[in-house]
């Protein structure tokens, strides 16, 4: 057949497209489990970092991280009921995937959707650190829209279920050098000891660039904003408002503090 006939061109293009798509698909599907294992390990590393189980997660080997992770109790929380869920397996449940499955997907009412999520899973995986029977820390996954990307992270609360023990950002795609200051360990360290709710149990925690005098009551609810990263930090503030508001963990934290809190 003549190489320059339109029919030949269509044939060559079709065959190339088919063969290449098969090649790419096979590579993606067969390698996915291996990539997945690495992503899980990365996630575990972030969780161990905020758990306070280890001072220096960066220098720990993969096995040590997994070992430390074993000390945490993994539970599923039904956010609407604010209670633990026992009908699904917390080890295999993936809230991010579940947010797209009809069985678990919950549409977030527009007026509550301050973090621009649209939908979330009805269940979230939380991690509890106990010393014997007493609860020491609760680690809660959080996410929300930043400037360019969805920011994912973990927030660890002390046993009073109100004081922040640690924050870590596990995934983000904010502007390099500007919005990605949220990864800065010094800034993340400033979250430690800040409180979420006031006596009336309304969310008083704020990120702002206002000058707040140290050692005042206001300061204990306040994290400094960072110049230049306003939109990203508004995103972080919004996701805090969502996840610690009525549609997030608020009910669960209240229930948990009644049963276990100190």
């Amino acid at each position: 057949m003549n190489n320059d006939s339109p029919l030949k061109a269509i044939m060559v293009v079709t065959v190339t497209a088919l063969v290449c798509s098969v090649l790419v698909t096979v590579a993606a599907v067969t390698l996915r489990p291996i990539q997945r294992a690495y992503e899980d390990l990365e996630r575990i590393r972030f969780i161990v970092r905020v758990s306070g189980l280890s001072e220096s997660v960066e220098t720990m080997s993969d096995l040590e991280v997994i070992g430390a992770f074993q000390d945490l109790e993994i539970r599923l929380v039904d956010l609407d009921r604010g209670a633990f869920d026992s009908s699904n397996n917390p080890d295999t449940f993936d809230a991010r995937e579940a947010a797209t499955e009809p069985q678990f997907r919950v549409a977030i009412p527009a007026e509550l959707d301050v973090a621009s999520l649209g939908t979330r899973s009805s269940l979230e995986t939380v991690y509890l650190l106990r010393d014997g029977e007493t609860l020491q820390r609760v680690i809660l996954p959080i996410h929300g829209q930043g400037m360019w990307s969805t920011i994912y992270g973990f927030l660890a609360l002390e046993s009073d279920l109100n004081t922040i023990a640690a924050l870590t950002i596990s995934e983000q795609g904010e502007t390099p050098g500007i919005g990605d200051v949220i990864l800065n360990p010094e800034w993340q360290a400033r979250w430690q000891g800040r409180r979420l709710y006031d006596e009336q149990r309304s969310l008083r925690f704020r990120i702002s660039r206002e000058v707040v005098a140290a050692n005042t009551e206001d300061a204990s609810y306040h994290v400094d904003g960072l110049a230049g990263a306003t939109v990203t930090l508004n995103g972080v503030m919004n996701l805090m408002r969502y996840w610690f508001g009525p549609h997030g963990y608020s009910r669960f934290l209240q229930n948990l503090s009644e049963t276990e809190g100190s």
Binding site: N3, D4, S5, K8, A9, V12, V13, T16, A17, C20, S21, L23, V24, A27, A28, L31, I34, Q35, Y38
Partner: protein
């Protein structure tokens, strides 16, 4: 035999894709601040190049000229995606460091350039050797630049200390400039200058005659 030798060895210095054709500068500038990334990038680019050259050479007699480039791009892009997936599965940390630059191999002019200039006109074996040669030519420059940058920028190579930095009680003051992309421009420029001083035939003839000052004044 002679042609095979040429296909393999010429791209190393005489027809080096980076220093003679000035191709692949984007990745050579971006990833050359650490020797390890440079090594992984070299392997990645060479594999894509071998894959695309061999496949395109195999189908060269059935390639309609009207859709030639898009078919070549599809093959190159598929090769790059496979390499990217492999890196993310087996070397996820380095895949994160290289980030978009693995994907950008698709637009690396060396790959399409060799496909278009060589693989569409030569047999499979020669195209394979040409790919290896050009991959090595690119790697040679990338790795040389990376050695200079990492050594002068940090005082170590592959995390092995060579020069002891002042901060650890040694004598070497790491020059942070070498960790920044612009330094690669100067180093590549220096290498091009050195190669062209040695191999005068690589010097391009000027595109226009510079106007002399005397001529300007006479106007």
């Amino acid at each position: 035999m002679m042609r095979a030798r040429q296909a393999l060895l010429n791209p190393l210095i005489d027809e080096n894709p980076v220093t003679l054709h000035i191709l692949g500068i984007c990745s050579a500038v971006a990833i050359s601040n650490s020797l390890y990334s440079a090594l992984v990038m070299s392997v990645a680019l060479t594999s894509v190049l071998v894959f695309s050259n061999v496949v395109i050479s195999m189908i060269r007699r059935h390639l309609p000229s009207s859709v030639r480039i898009i078919v070549q791009m599809t093959i190159i892009a598929s090769g790059v995606i496979v390499v990217d997936e492999l890196l993310r599965a087996f070397a996820p940390e380095i895949a994160q460091t290289l980030s978009v630059f693995v994907g950008l191999i698709i637009t690396n002019c060396i790959v399409l350039g060799r496909a278009e200039a060589f693989a569409t006109q030569h047999g499979v074996a020669l195209s394979f050797l040409d790919a290896i040669g050009n991959g090595l030519g690119f790697s040679l420059i990338l790795i040389s630049v990376a050695i200079i940058r990492e050594l002068l920028g940090t005082g170590s190579l592959l995390d092995v200390g060579i020069f002891k930095p002042v901060s650890e009680g040694g004598w070497f003051e790491p020059n942070a400039f070498f960790m920044l992309p612009p330094s690669a421009f100067f180093i590549i420029g220096g290498i091009i200058w050195a190669v062209r001083s040695w191999k005068k035939e690589q010097v391009e003839s000027p595109e226009f005659e510079p106007i002399s000052v005397a001529e300007l004044e006479s106007d």
